[in-house]
Structure formats: structure tokens, C-alpha cells
Subunit: 440 residues, 2 copies
Amino acid sequence: MYGWVAPLDVSTSHSLKLRTLKPTHNPLFTLLSVENFQPRKLLKALSLGPPHCEHKHQLLSVPPRKMRSMTLVDPWLQTSSSVFNHPTQTQYRSFLALIQSPIKSTPTWPNYRSTPLAISAVITKEETATEDETQNPTTFNFKTYMAQKASLINRALDEAVSLKDPPMIHEAMRYSLLAGGKRVRPVLCLAACELVGGGHHHSAAAAALPAACAVEMIHTMSLIHDDLPCMDDDDLRRGQPTTHKAFGEDVAVLAGDSLLAFAFEHLSTATVGVPPARILAAVGELAKSIGTEGLVAGQVVDIISTGISTVGLGLDQLEFIHVHKTAVLLEASVVLGAILGGGSDEQVERLRRFARCIGLLFQVVDDILDVTRSSEELGKTAGKDLAADKATYPKLMGLDKSREFADKLNEEAKEQLSGFDPDKAAPLVALADYIAYRQN
Amino acid sequence: MYGWVAPLDVSTSHSLKLRTLKPTHNPLFTLLSVENFQPRKLLKALSLGPPHCEHKHQLLSVPPRKMRSMTLVDPWLQTSSSVFNHPTQTQYRSFLALIQSPIKSTPTWPNYRSTPLAISAVITKEETATEDETQNPTTFNFKTYMAQKASLINRALDEAVSLKDPPMIHEAMRYSLLAGGKRVRPVLCLAACELVGGGHHHSAAAAALPAACAVEMIHTMSLIHDDLPCMDDDDLRRGQPTTHKAFGEDVAVLAGDSLLAFAFEHLSTATVGVPPARILAAVGELAKSIGTEGLVAGQVVDIISTGISTVGLGLDQLEFIHVHKTAVLLEASVVLGAILGGGSDEQVERLRRFARCIGLLFQVVDDILDVTRSSEELGKTAGKDLAADKATYPKLMGLDKSREFADKLNEEAKEQLSGFDPDKAAPLVALADYIAYRQN
């Protein structure tokens, strides 16, 4: 079913530097990581191939725009939507690809007749840590922490939802899942796991890595379904066409469904070194955060409220929608990490309260930014809530009181962390501050 | 949030006979079961109330048509779609209701000001076993077995997805979930559990009851999403308007999502008396049957194949679609039951092969019936596949060979059961024969 593509020509003529080679679960493929490259040059390297390779022409005819996720699979070649849309001269930090294994130090063309292969590539936009930042372990560097975790999560997501048969649905799942985002939910999950995990940070986080991927899958799934024409009818998400615009409504519905199901498959089968009872508790928590006590409840009350002037909504109802649409999954992220890390019931409950506070904080700050910042600063249309006459915290309680409320929520959140080792709690404290003081 | 409704007047004047009273998980409610009633009389009994009760009038103004599922909740009263559409004189066998507890033997009006209550009712159309059939335990009576299990499952589903806040989404979930159906998947799940469970039949089945509900939730969820306008665009399902026709597309998408999530919540939290490792394995199996190796894969390849003349499909592709759209969930149903019943790895694998055979058998027989039976006999349009020039087994291998293939599959299925106690295997043998020899 899979076609072939020329392997990366990693010679210096294309300024591509081979960084790491890592075997993957599939013996056919090796994880190839390249750093410091320009998309156009990479494309060229990827497109060189035997003369009768038709796909290289197809590939080169795509305007080199912003490049996010790339999939070269025959006969299902997807070139229309998610591939290559970026200004030519931009230099990217890293590039991950799956390539036929074993790769040779001097690449040659694969015997494409007998060894079909697929290549899947993801560009990570997150900055990698500089050496300066990593050399001082005594002070907590939030930026470095976030970048390291996001990079870990991006790689894990890329491996978890790999390109398999049938390719179209996997490409649709990857399209939105790997389109970037700050990865706040999975980072919260890993941080909570490390906080209660006792032992070595790395292994503690490993216990929660499949769970961290699962919460991001659920988040992505909810975005895909919320963007559907019959729901919020959005055309753009994270600067690229929404999934149904790129793949059609039917595939978007199915991509959401399979991400939802796969989150549970991944959590239940890929979590290792954790007693089954804990994993099972995590499954129950995650499921609860999605259905009629979680994301779906928020969305359905939002739908019911349409037609009612949203200003007519009281603080209670506003909070219900926000808590369910935003806070519940943040809560699940933290709680899953705490459960899988082996936290006591009391620790899990403290972290649950922490997560509820930052979940609401997230929304209060969003509302404040909407009235105080320009569109340019936000990276999205400012004053939208005001124009839509939408109920917001500044509208319902005034700007000053909203800021006080935000401060109070941040304080309450941090109080929940007071019983923990301050060094280990540093990432969650910094995440709360990040949510409270962010400028966009 | 919940309003009130008068309790059932179970006096003889309405020919309603109180059968069972069973406490539910919610201390506010008691499960009330009534047998032999007419919908209109029941409606009247339900609608009698204090003079200022507005809802009784709303309720009575609904034409007494076929009554399937009834929900009386204030202020979200749902009277428009799923309620009361049946010829007046039809006598129904049983009626289940949740009613405020404790119920008094001589019902009086509840103190509705201080004790708001909700009532949720489901009419079960399945015939209950007659006494003759249950008095001879030595021979296996398939009809009785199916009726008993279906009734058990219907009650369990009704309790699992109860009416809660927000009501609209729960009503939408219940609308399709409780609309009937033969409950083949959950019965397979219970039967497999009993087969490997060793001990007392009743307790063995109890271990798999939440799993049996979960597979029916997944089946229903797939029907709701497959019926959407952007998918198969169907208006009718099981003789009533599809979920999106009754509740709107947005609610249909969300009802499917929450049924999908709730299946995992229910399986992971409501299964009792089973080691966590087994439940976790069941979660993984169920998840796998939904995503890109299960239902979604079948649907997406079906979508891709649209436009290609389906006759152009080979037997391989036809089988891929059928296996994924039908057989995989049947397989999961059986495997979940076997795992939760404590079956050995070998027993689980034997039952998995059994399920694969009957899954394919199901489709082969469907194709045969489409060309050999009239629409009246089938209860749906006959010859549809032929008219649509669709690839079917009779078309690809001829009618005789298709029948041979069906016999072979049935035989293969039964071979897998040969190592088990014949008495305990009787339900699965009968289920295979039912699938093979059904006439519609």
C-alpha cells in the first residue's frame, strides 16, 4: 500500500546536518532528526530521486509556504493542505523523519521496487534549550523546562500516532495533533507526575508520558469537533485550515472519534511500570472529563445559551461553561499525572484543587486580555467578546475586580502546593504564574 | 434545576400494576416497574397533579403516538421528538420509571416545593419470557435466553445513562441508546463471560454487564455519527428519526462523543469484582475496536471507495470494510466478556476466532438475504445492494458459493467452541445459528 520516496540526502550540499538516529518500534523505520535547515532545501533533498519518480514533481510544485507536517505516502499522497506553507528563507531548528532502516552513513537510493517505504516528517517550532540555560540546574528556568517537555511530547505524539494504513485518517489525526500549540495540558500532566513521583525526574515523567499524550489527543479531538460547520463553524485553527476544511467534514468527524478512542488505547496499553489499578483510575478520570460532566457539558450548555443574550447569563452559568470547556481537562491532566506518579489520595486532591484554580484563572486572564490588549499583541482579534456583547469577567465584575479575582485564584492555586518540596513544585508554580501573567 | 412531576398513580383505576421497586444509586429515586399498560392511560396517570402544574397540559397535548422514551424534566422538558408516538390501544408489557423515593404504597402527591424530582421512563418492547419457557431448564431455549439478557441489558443501560444535568444531552444519548435493537453485541459479551466464568451464571455475567453496556454505547455512537448528513445522511434509524433529525447535528455529534467517552468511564468505574489488570485489558481491547484498526477504519475506507465502482472492489477490500465496520466490534464484545470472566489466554483467543467468524458470517448472510428475500420479509428495502451495483458476496462468488461460505464460517465458529463445556457453550452456538439462519 505504501509507495516510496527518496531518503533524505543528508550531504552538506543541502546544509542538512544529521543529528540523531533512533530505532523505532517498527523495524522498517528509523527516526531521523535533522537540525538547522530551510524547508525549501529540505524539500529538494527529499525530492531527488530516480527519473521516473512522479511524486517528486508533485512535491516540488507545492508553493513553499509554512511547513508543519509532511506526509509522503503513495498512493494517498497528501500535498494539498498541511504541507509546506512557509516563507522560503526561514531557518528551522529541528526536523524529525521516519526513514527506512538501516540508514547508511552515505545515503544511497533505496531499492524502491522491493522495499517500499513511507516517510513522515514533523517540524518542531519550539526552541530547543541553549547550553547556557541547561548548565545551571540550581535555578528553575521555565522557558527551558517548557521547551524540553514540549519537545518530548511532540516526539511522543509523533510516534504514537504514526502513519499507518489507511493513511488518510492517520494524516488527518496528525494534521491537527502535530500542528503545534503550547502543550500546556501534557506539560501539566508530566509536572504533576514528577511532583509526586519521588524518584528520578526522568523516570517519573515516563510513567505519565502516554497520559500526557492522551490529554493532548482529547484536547485536539475537542477542537476538531468544535470547529465543525454544525458547531462553531471555524475555518482556521492555529494559523492553518481547520481539519474539516483540509480533509472534509466526514473525515474530521472520524478523526475526532479515533483520537478520542486512541487516547484510551494509548493510555491503557502504552503506560508501563505503573500498577494496573492506577492506570485504570486514570482511564476513569480522563473519560469523566470528556463526557457530560466535562467538555461535552460545556459545549452543550454553550449551544443552549445561544440565542439567550449572553449578558443575561449570570456568573454561575458563565463559570459552568468555562469550567467545563477549559478547566475540567486541565484538571484531568494534573490529576492523571498525580495518580500515575503514585500520589496519595490527599496529594491527588490538593493537585485537583490546584488545577481547578488555574483552569478558571486561564479564562479570567483571557477575558482581561481581550479588553486590554491589541489584536497584534494577542495574535487574534481583540475586543471580540466586547463586540459580541458576550458575558465576560470584566463585564460582570469590572476590570479591577477581575484582576483581583485572578490574583486570588493564582494565590489559591499556589497554596495547594505549599505542602510539597518547593524545588519539585517549581514547575507548577511557574505554570500558574505563566497562566496569570501571560500577555497573549 | 429539575422540576417536578406527579408520581405514577398505580391504582387499579388505570390498570397499572406495580411490579417491582428497586433502589437505585441515587437515593432520591426508586426504580419503578409497571407491566401491562396502555400508553395513553399511563400518560394520564403521570399527568394528574396539583392544579397549577403546567406540564401536565403540555404533556397531554402531545399526540399519543409511538412511545419509546419519555423524559419529564423542568425546565428542559423534551416533548417534541422522542415521546409518545404510538397507536392508543397498544398494550405494552413493561414500563420502567425512576420515581422519587421512598414511594408509598398508596401514592400521594410529593411535596413538590421542597422535593423536586425527575422521572424518566423507558418502554421495553422485548417480550418477557413466558412461564412455560422458563420451567424447563434442561434444554436451552434461545428465545428465552435472548429476552432475559436483553431485558437485563436494557435496564442496565437505562440506569447507566440516567437523566442528569444538562438534560438535553442525556436525552439525546438515551434517545438512540434505548430505542431498541436486538442487543446482539452485549448478549455476546455476557455469554462469553458466562462461558469462561466457571462459577454461578448470574455472578459471571455481572462481571461483564458494564462491558456489555459499553459495547452497546459504542455501537450506538457509531450509528449516530454514521447517520450524520456529512456521512451517510440517513433520516431514519430503527423506525424513528435519526438523532440529528430529532436533536440537531451539533447535539448529535456531542451525544456520540459523550457515549464514546462514557463507555470507557462505565467500563472502568462500574465493573466490580474483577482484578484491575483484566479491566484495563478490556479497556485496551474496546478502544482498539473503535479507532483506525476498527470502526473508523471501515468507515474511512468506505468513504474512500465512494466514487470507485464498488464492483471494482475485490473480495479483499470488501472483506476489509465488513470486518472493520461489523466484525471488529462483535469481536471486542466477545473478547471483553472472555477477559472479564477470567478466561485463559488460549480461551480468549479461541473466542476471538469464534467472533471473527460470526462477524463475517453476519455480513455474508446479510448479502444473501438482500437478493433472496422480499422487502416485507426483511423489514427494509430488498435488492438495495443489487440496485446500487454494490459488491456483495453473491455477486462476487455466486449465491451457492456464498451459502457454502456461510456454512463454512458457521462451522469454523463452532469448532472454536469445541473445547468448552457444551452446556455453557450452548448460548454462543445458538447465537451463531441465529446469525446464520436468520430470515431478516
